[in-house]
């Protein structure tokens, strides 16, 4: 059974790129367009890994991470935040919200795969 990954991003092009790259590598990928959508989709399925952007309409990434950590099935699932803000302040907030790690935007497909393989194999 392929590992399942949820990518949450309001940018369709980034979603498409992430999705294509990960599917190409044999993962099963679902997409969500913002934090709220991400939360709904995450509730509906048990993903092995969640990627979330930070700045999104309706619900931002940090809120999504906090909400996910409140769900029993996502207590220990790796959640990575995509961020263009590589500042330590952002990382500290991410850590506090319960993120497992971060990935700096822009990133290329190779980098994405490197991270995913490191985290869920």
């Amino acid at each position: 059974m392929a590992k399942t990954i949820l990518t949450v991003d309001d940018s369709a092009s980034i979603r498409q790129m992430v999705s294509f790259t990960l599917k190409d590598a044999g993962y099963s990928v679902s997409e969500a367009v913002d934090g709220q959508d991400g939360l709904d989709k995450a509730r509906a399925g048990n993903f092995n890994l969640v990627f979330t952007d930070q700045n999104m309409p309706r619900m931002d990434g940090l809120t999504l991470i906090k909400q996910l950590r409140g769900l029993p099935q996502y207590k220990t699932v790796p959640i990575l935040m995509l961020t263009t803000e590589s500042s330590d302040g952002m990382k500290a907030q991410g850590r506090a919200a319960g993120a497992t790690g971060w990935l700096v935007k822009p990133f290329d497909p190779q980098k994405l795969l490197e991270v995913v393989r490191k985290v869920i194999g």
Partner: protein, 755 residues
């Protein structure tokens, strides 16, 4: 594995275009004096999203512009700075630059203009406005040279030991110490780098009042400038890293290779990182242990000690399937989750299709032929007795109704809301008003009004001209408005509506209005003949004369008076008409009337001699049976007809088209009063025949342009009838009256009772 990024470009282009449009719309709606935080956030998101995409897909020029844009926007949304009009201008300019860059990328080229650097520099200046207070930048602006050192802050130094040929721990220690002499340095010097991978990165933090130059100087001895990345750390960031819970962050930049250390310690790699102790790390650890185990089995004995970079097995990287199999964990219905996404896309694709305009036009043409065929059948049926051929007549009326419905349905395919044109005006008004130092509010009414796609495209230029004119010549400067007892902010309204069979587009302003005396003086100066006591309408119509401009000062906004005549011609080309109303101090109101479509029109067929002509119903006001005393000849105006106390120029179709035939007395004919761009006129015809729906066939493409005629149509009996263009007819008639080309018949047919 390499992935061709270009396959995502199209989505990015569309998305960036949408983001730019969103950003511009929000910027225009932003009230600088009372900014709405949600709006600022939304603008930020648009810029941020573009930056992420541009960087990811390698459009670095766009990424650079969006970066500076985002930097300033970030300060605004964090309320560190208050938005100003200047900022909004700068944002809009940056949006324009991005649009150009986007367009260039879509063409496969790059947009290069000095403007790019200017706009970026301007934004940077704005973003660092209160920098003089000694506070650091909210968000570091990299490599711009804006700030060379940061008091209380420092530098984040990032490099790959492998890049700079310093793989030896001792030499790195030397470098570390040298930097340490400049200030306080934090970071780890790996003792042995044999296990380091190409990708591993050293991240050090240097605090203190250290100039960029000083750091660069030290690195200059050992590597190229681009191999080391320097980023400013702001003061609050440096204090943050001194917090106790971050104290074990010595491991930044490297993995601590000891089993289990992944769980406890932060791991910062090139471009991504993992938080030690965070939820989800146990899985990563498990994986790392598994990895270590695998490797141990594969390579024999390998003792990783703390401080070691994590050797991420290359073999594993190439065979994800294996590692997936090695970790049979959660059972998630992958097929199910994919299936939920798929139908949604399918629905979106099913609800609309893209069809080329040619296909729709072909359909319209066929409907036109159907209308003509129906007219022919109806014509043939007139000889039949309705009582005897009831079924034929029933069928004919059904056919008529069906073809009318079909025609409407086909027409609606070509219809688009006028918002496609209107939407550009908030920006036009804003920019034009700003460059003239005027305050103008734009109101858009009836944006959902639909009209033919072809008309929409052709409306853009005339409307643009009218709106700019209103701002330039109509709306007064704020001081003048105040003096006149009006609010400082002028108002321009763009309104669209359906009225009868036409679309009405109005441009109105509450400005100074047209100046009758000035217009008349100008007309006299330019030698434009005017009647002794001209009506307002005649005076206002002067502005449509070629080369007529009343502005004392020629501006780059509305030009030199070339324009209004072009505006009128453009509108007349669409079978439309334009009217002006104006009152001094109250403003100007311009009304444009357009047919719903260019393909079919409701017309009245009239007979003149043997010929049938079509008059568009929209221009007809009334028709009367004239009496001989209603006709007069006036020097310089030719023949006129007195209708309801008003002398109207009279156009005789026989004279204009030289159709010959036996002379008839005017009072035996019918006068059709039509509305033209130069006021009302009377068209003399022999007989009114019938009202039809006619299919417009271009005369120009099938024959050549004929003055006074806007097109042709095929009648039910197969004859061709010309569709009259009353504006051109009146002009033609006036020229014939004044000029030497006046047809001979004209003087002969003058009413002998007159003068």
């Amino acid at each position: 594995m390499t992935i061709d990024m270009s396959q995502f470009y199209q989505v990015f282009f569309e998305e960036a275009g949408e983001n730019l449009a969103t950003m511009e719309g929000l910027l225009l709606e932003l009230d600088v004096d009372a900014p709405d935080l949600e709006t600022l956030n939304a603008i930020f998101r648009a810029a941020h999203s573009m930056k992420g995409g541009a960087g990811t897909f390698g459009f670095n020029d766009m990424a650079r512009v969006t970066h500076v844009l985002e930097t300033l926007l970030d300060r605004l949304r964090k309320q560190e700075l208050a938005p100003t009009v200047e900022m909004v201008d700068a944002f809009l300019q940056a949006g324009d630059v991005l649009k150009s860059q986007l367009a260039a990328h879509q063409e496969g080229t790059e947009y290069e203009a000095p403007r790019v650097a200017e706009v970026c520099a301007h934004l940077e200046v704005l973003a660092s406005l209160d920098d003089t207070s000694g506070e650091g930048l909210a968000s570091p602006v990299r490599d711009t040279g804006v700030r060379e050192s940061l008091e209380g802050g420092g530098w984040r130094i990032e490099f790959r030991p492998a890049d700079i040929g310093r793989r030896d721990g001792l030499e790195l220690q030397g470098l570390f110490d040298a930097l340490g002499e400049l200030g306080t340095i934090e970071g780890t010097v790996p003792s042995d780098l044999d296990g380091a991978r190409e990708m591993d990165v050293c991240v050090w933090r240097l605090f203190g009042d250290v100039g960029r130059g000083a750091v660069e100087e030290i690195f200059a001895f050992i590597c190229e400038p681009n191999q080391v990345s320097l980023a400013a750390i702001q003061p609050d960031e440096s204090s943050l890293s001194a917090e106790p819970d971050e104290s074990d962050d010595d491991g930044y930049g490297f993995f601590m290779g000891a089993p289990g250390s992944e769980f406890a310690l932060d791991q910062e790699l090139d471009g991504f990182g993992l938080f030690g102790g965070s939820p989800g790390m146990d899985q990563v650890v498990e994986l790392a242990n598994q990895d270590r185990l695998d490797r141990d089995l594969g390579y024999g004995f390998f003792d990783a000690s703390p401080g070691f970079p994590e050797p991420n097995g290359e073999a594993r990287r190439e065979s994800p399937a294996q590692t997936v199999a090695a970790q049979p964990k959660r059972s998630v219905d992958a097929g199910g989750s994919r299936a939920t996404a798929a139908p949604k896309r399918a629905i979106a694709a099913d609800t609309s299709i893209r069809v080329s305009v040619e296909k729709v036009d072909q359909l319209i043409n066929l409907v036109g032929e159907l209308v003509i065929t129906h007219a022919m059948l109806a014509e043939s049926a007139t000889v039949l007795d309705p009582a005897l051929h009831e079924r034929i007549f029933g069928g004919l009326s059904n056919l008529e109704r069906n073809s009318r419905d079909l025609q409407q349905a086909v027409m609606s395919i070509r219809m688009m809301p006028i918002s496609f044109v209107f939407n550009r005006f908030p920006r036009v008004v804003r920019d034009t008003a700003a460059s003239l130092g005027k305050k103008v509010l734009l109101r858009l009414v009836g944006e959902d009004t639909e009209l033919d796609k072809g008309l929409i495209e052709r409306m853009a230029d005339p409307l643009n001209h009218l709106v700019r004119n209103s701002i330039d010549h109509g709306i007064e400067q704020p001081e003048a408005r105040r003096a006149a007892g009006k609010p400082e902010q002028g108002e321009i309204t763009l309104r669209a509506s359906h009225r009868g069979g036409s679309v009405v587009v109005e441009v109105s302003d509450d400005g100074a209005g047209l100046n009758r005396e000035k217009l008349l003086a100008k007309a006299a100066k330019q030698g434009i003949p005017m009647p002794d006591n001209p009506s307002d309408k005649e005076v206002w119509a002067l502005i449509f004369h070629a080369g007529f401009s009343t502005a004392e000062r020629v501006t780059d906004i509305s030009g030199r008076g070339v324009g209004m005549d072009v505006v009128r011609r453009n509108i007349e080309d669409m079978n439309g008409r334009v009217e002006i109303e104006s009152s001094p101090g109250r403003g100007t109101h311009i009304t444009i009337r357009l047919p719903l479509t260019l393909a079919i029109l409701d017309g009245l067929s009239v007979r003149m001699g043997e010929e049938i002509f079509i008059l568009p119903l929209t221009v007809i006001q009334e028709s009367i049976q004239p009496k001989p005393e209603q006709f007069k000849s006036v020097v310089g105006k030719g023949r006129v007809a007195l209708v309801n106390g008003e002398y109207l120029p009279m156009v005789s179709l026989r004279d204009v088209f030289n159709s010959g035939g036996p002379e008839t007395r005017p009072e035996d004919g019918i006068l059709v009063i039509v509305d033209t761009n130069e006021g009302r006129a009377a068209v003399l015809v022999d007989e009114l025949v019938a009202q039809h729906q006619v299919v417009i066939k271009s005369l120009e493409t099938n024959y050549r342009k004929v003055d006074g005629v806007s097109g042709a149509t095929i009648m039910g009996d197969g004859r061709v009838a010309l569709i009259l263009d009353v504006d051109a007819l009146v002009r033609l008639n006036r020229r014939a009256t004044r000029g030497s080309v006046r047809p001979i018949q004209f003087s002969v047919t003058g009413d002998p009772n007159d003068e």
